[in-house]
Symmetry: C2
C-alpha cells in the first residue's frame, strides 16, 4: 500500500535536504486551517482555530485572509466558516481518479441490491478513508461521508487492507498506531490482531462484529486491480439486531465478491 | 448572496493594503495545484500541471513536494496524482456546515419519493456549486458530484439564486459572466434572462428546459433560512422524453416546495 509511506512530513525524512528546503510551510498551514473545521461548530473564531491547529494567531490569520480572498472561507464579524468552494478540491480528486469513478456504480448496485449501505475505502497511514459511499436510509444521514476516516485495526475494510500489507509495512503500522477499544468487543491486542489478519488474508474477507460501535456489523472484501494488487476495500454494513453472521456470509458476501471480480479488470 | 463578493483575490481589492501584504501566495498556489487535476487524466506530469496553472515549474514543484509530504498528492515516477486525503478537506466542510447537514435527508427523501435525482446548490461567483446530491440510477453515475460546478444563467438552481440577488449584485454578475449557448435552446441574451429572472422571482420556482444539455429538464425552488433570506436552491432533474412540463409542475414542484418549507426553520 503505497499510501502508507506518505503521512510523514518532509521535515521528518532523512537524507532529503533539498526537499526539506523546498517544503512550503505556508501551504501546509493553510490546509491544516481548512481541516481544523472538521467536526466543529460551523463558525469558529481566530482564537478557536489557532488553538485547534496549535499555531500563533498571526500565522493563522494570514492563512484565513488568504483562504477568504480565494473564497474557501467566509468571514462574518469575528467568526469564520468554510465556504462550499472547499468541495471543489474534493471534486478535483473525484473527477480525475480512477478508483471512485470505477467503484461508484458498483457501490450503488450492491447497496440497492441488498438494501444495505455499501462503501469503498483505501488505507492512508493508520486510517481508512471513505472514497465512495452509498448510505441506506436506515442509517443516520451524514454518518460517514466520503472523505471521513476511521481507524484501520477495528473496521472490516481496514482489516482487509492491513491483511495485505507486507511484513515491514505491517510492523510500521503497529509501531505507529494506538489501539483503543471503541466498544467492549474491540480487539486491541496486537498479537490477537495479527492472528486475525492472517485468517482474513486466507479467507479473503473480514466480518467485523461490533468493533467500532454497538449493534454495527460489517463485512468487507479486498478490491484488486488487474495485476492482482489490493488497492482498496469494499464493505456492506448491517445491524447485529437484524442480521446474523451466517446471513452476512450467505447473502452479503456473494454480492461483494461479485462486484470485486467485475471491478478487477477496470482498475489499474 | 455573500459569496458573490469573494472570488476576487485580495490583490485586486482596493484600500486593503495590510491584507494584501498578508496574502499567502504559496497557499493560493498549492490550492490551485490541487484544482489543476479536476477533469484531467488521473496522472499528470510536472509540465502538465505547470501548464494548467500557468506558473513556473520550480514553483509548482515546491507545491507538489509539500502536497506529497502531507499525503495530498502521490508521486509515481514522473507522474503525480491526487491522493484520497484531498477528500478530508471536503469532509471538513460537510461535517461543520449546517446547509449540507440539514439538506441531506431532505434531498434523499425527495429523490426516493419521486424516483428522480435531487440536489442542493449555492451560488459562488458566476457558478453554482453542488452541496448535496442524490443521484437516480437512470442517470450516469458520477454526473455532477458534490463540489462540481455549473454556470448559473442556464441552470434552474442558478436562475433561482440569481433571481434573488439585489440589483447591484445582479449587474455585477452580468458584467462578469460570459453567456454561452450549451444547447440550441440556451437563453444567452441578457435582457431576455433578466425578464426570465423577474418571472422566476414572482412564481418562486424555475423550470429549465434543455438549457444545459439536450433532453434534460430540471425544476428548482429557492431554500430560505428562518429569516427569509434565500441561502441555496434545490432542484429535481428529469428527462424531456419522459416527463412533460405540466407533470413537472404538478408532481415534482409540490415535493420540492414541501421540503423547502420544512427546511426553513432549520437553516439560520
Amino acid at each position: 500500500m503505497r499510501t502508507l509511506a506518505h503521512p510523514a512530513p518532509a521535515s521528518q525524512r532523512t537524507g532529503e535536504a533539498r526537499e526539506q528546503r523546498e517544503y512550503v510551510t505556508a501551504l501546509a498551514r493553510g490546509l491544516e486551517v481548512i481541516r481544523a473545521f472538521a467536526g466543529q461548530d460551523e463558525e469558529l473564531t481566530l482564537a478557536d482555530i489557532a488553538k485547534i491547529v496549535d499555531l500563533p494567531r498571526a500565522t493563522v490569520r494570514r492563512s484565513l485572509i488568504t483562504l477568504d480572498a480565494l473564497g474557501y472561507v467566509e468571514e462574518k464579524g469575528r467568526f469564520f466558516r468554510l465556504a462550499p468552494k472547499v468541495l471543489t478540491l474534493a471534486q478535483a480528486y473525484l473527477s480525475s481518479n480512477l478508483l471512485p469513478r470505477v467503484a461508484h456504480p458498483f457501490v450503488q448496485q450492491v447497496s440497492s441490491g441488498l438494501g444495505e449501505s455499501c462503501s469503498v475505502s483505501i488505507l492512508h497511514g493508520t486510517e481508512i478513508i471513505y472514497v465512495v459511499r452509498s448510505i441506506n436510509k436506515r442509517l443516520s444521514a451524514l454518518l460517514g461521508d466520503v472523505g471521513s476516516r476511521r481507524p484501520a485495526y477495528c473496521t472490516s475494510m481496514g482489516r482487509v487492507l492491513l491483511a495485505h500489507l507486507g511484513d515491514r509495512e505491517l510492523d510500521a503500522y503497529f509501531a505507529a498506531v494506538e489501539l483503543k477499544a471503541l466498544t467492549p468487543y474491540t480487539v486491541t491486542d496486537e498479537s490477537e490482531l495479527r492472528l486475525l489478519l492472517a485468517k482474513i488474508r486466507k479467507q479473503d474477507y473480514c466480518l467485523s462484529d461490533q468493533q467500532t460501535e454497538m449493534d454495527l456489523r460489517t463485512i468487507a472484501v479486498p478490491l484488486r486491480n488487474s495485476t492482482g494488487l489490493v488497492v482498496a476495500a469494499m464493505h456492506v454494513t448491517t445491524q447485529a439486531s437484524r442480521t446474523t453472521k451466517r446471513q452476512m456470509i450467505d447473502r452479503l458476501l456473494p454480492a461483494l465478491r461479485k462486484a470485486a471480480v467485475e471491478m478487477r479488470g477496470l482498475l489499474v
